[in-house]
């Protein structure tokens, strides 16, 4: 009789001295996710005796909540399920996964954020013999992160008032409302005005980044026609396209019906596509073309923004969505960019339940795209609205 796979019989036994020496809480489970071993740290965190845990499903001791302490879907359980499925389907070693902060309600401790790492124990044939759940309290990290975001948010708010008064004063000088200004001085005032505008934009970007990083952005899905959104953006960026001598085309693939809508947050989706399109126009040389194409594969919508621009060098491609990163050729063409745009776009897409990506060849052009599930974005009405700042030149 063939040996029954993935049962307690083939669970591996890890030496207790080994897991006792690990500083994090460690629970070892068999393939049916029943506890076989727990180190002293885990026992202390869970407020349970080891003898009461062994042999019972691990979920009996892990009460997963959301940050506010409400019952929520068990991300640890879902992830372990996915890892097991992967291991059983491919019979290959599955690498460990570290989850973003998971909130766990521990008896007597309240709800605390934990960093979980889940690793499968597999034999040489890939058969799962169990799993190790290691976790550590990251309340301090989360608190410091929140404080940082709060600080940036407060500082940005406080900066807006003086920046506004500077802007308004220069504006009045430039309009000659205080008296005639010689041409040479006007030039300086224009520069100050432009720098002030950049600072305001940067302050706004930092505010948005801090909101996005803390997951506090409001997402209010309503049916959106992606083709119409792309057309609106084309119109908004007409000036930039004209100055840069770049033509912008919006295309609807046959896979998308005319007027077809997907429930996403209109403002955030607009921001994502606009950012891609504005970048494409900015980094495409004169006579170039930018094509915004909306398509669908049945499961997802896809908005792709392709350009005939400078492209991104291979070695820089992995960093393109990271904070403050600017590709060398882009920084050369426009030294004033903050490197926050694509970082924000990636986080915005995340808030929208969407994914972003790109294809690029240096010297030939790039295509940045966002894919949106047909069911649209998850709702989050508790966050703060993303503030898009449209300064008039």
């Amino acid at each position: 009789m063939a040996q029954k796979r993935n049962t307690v019989q083939n669970a591996v036994v890890l030496p207790p001295e080994l897991i006792a020496s690990i500083g994090d809480g460690v629970i070892v489970v068999d393939p049916s996710l029943k506890v076989t071993e727990a180190n002293a740290q885990a026992v202390e965190m869970l407020h349970k005796r080891k003898s009461t845990m062994v042999g019972h499903p691990v979920w009996r001791f892990l009460d997963i909540r959301d940050a506010k302490g409400k019952k929520t879907h068990n991300t640890v359980r879902i992830t372990i399920g996915k890892l097991l499925h992967k291991a059983r389907a491919n019979k290959r070693k599955v690498p460990p996964v570290t989850l973003p902060p998971v909130y766990v309600k521990f008896p007597g401790l309240g709800v605390l954020p934990y960093a979980f790492t889940l690793s499968l124990i597999q034999n040489q044939y890939g058969t799962v013999q169990g799993a190790v759940l290691s976790f550590r309290d990251i309340s301090t990290d989360v608190e410091v992160g929140n404080m940082k975001s709060e600080f940036v948010s407060l500082a940005a708010h406080q900066l807006r008032a003086p920046l506004t008064s500077i802007r308004w004063n220069i504006e009045m000088l430039l309009r000659g409302e205080i008296g005639p200004v010689p041409e040479t001085q006007q030039e300086l005032l224009h520069d100050i005005y432009a720098s002030n505008g950049r600072m305001l934009t940067l302050v706004n970007d930092l505010l948005n980044v801090s909101r996005l990083e803390s997951g506090r952005i409001r997402v209010d899905p309503t049916p959106v026609d992606l083709v119409a959104t792309a057309q609106d953006i084309k119109k908004e960026l007409e000036g930039e396209a004209r100055v840069g001598h770049v033509s912008v085309v919006v295309e609807r693939d046959v896979s998308v019906k005319e007027g077809e809508k997907v429930p996403v947050d209109p403002g955030l989706m607009h921001e994502v596509i606009k950012n891609f399109t504005a970048n494409a126009i900015k980094y495409t040389p004169e006579g170039g073309k930018v094509t915004v194409r909306v398509s669908s594969d049945g499961k997802r919508y896809r908005v792709g923004v392709a350009d005939t621009g400078m492209g991104i060098s291979k070695k820089e491609q992995t960093k393109i969505f990271t904070k403050f990163f600017r590709a060398a050729n882009a920084a050369d063409k426009d030294p004033l960019g903050s490197g926050l745009g694509l970082y924000m776009v990636k986080m915005l897409a995340g808030a929208l339940g969407s994914k972003v990506g790109f294809r690029s060849k240096e010297g030939e052009g790039s295509e940045f795209f966002v894919t949106i599930p047909r069911k649209g974005s998850p709702k989050n009405l508790h966050g703060k609205p993303y503030s898009s700042l449209s300064l008039k030149a």
Partner: protein, 125 residues
């Protein structure tokens, strides 16, 4: 000549308003917070009020709530100019009965002036 009451705690922002509206021929009254605003409103008899929201002593929300209790000012147009951009702030102010809600950092001073003129014209018609 129109009369405007400006309620704003930032002295530098206030000075820009003063310069702009003086140059445009307005009669100006100013107040540093909501409390002072409620005192000044009686002598200033404004045709329109420019109002900040976050201020010490009495904030902009409180100012509107109390002002609207007096029938004389039940319909005086109020333009809110603030850096509070959250939807619930906007909704809260609108429920109290204001004419417009503008984000300072999104506006030029000329935009502010034009909004004041437009609001005055609407109020008269």
């Amino acid at each position: 000549m129109s009369r405007i009451l400006i309620v704003e705690d930032d002295p530098y922002i206030m000075r820009v308003y003063e310069r702009k509206f003086q140059a445009e021929g307005f009669t100006i009254a100013t107040a540093k917070n909501g409390e002072e605003g409620l005192e000044k409103v009686k002598e200033a008899k404004p045709d329109i009020i420019l109002l900040d929201l976050v201020m010490p002593k009495k904030d902009g929300f409180e100012f509107v709530r109390e002002l609207r209790k007096d029938d004389t000012y039940a319909k005086t147009p109020i333009i809110v100019l603030t850096n509070l951009g959250q939807e619930h702030d906007i909704e809260r102010a609108q429920k109290l009965g204001i004419s417009a809600y503008l984000l300072k950092s999104n506006q030029s001073i000329q935009d502010v002036f034009e909004m004041v003129q437009k609001t005055l014209a609407n109020a008269k018609s």
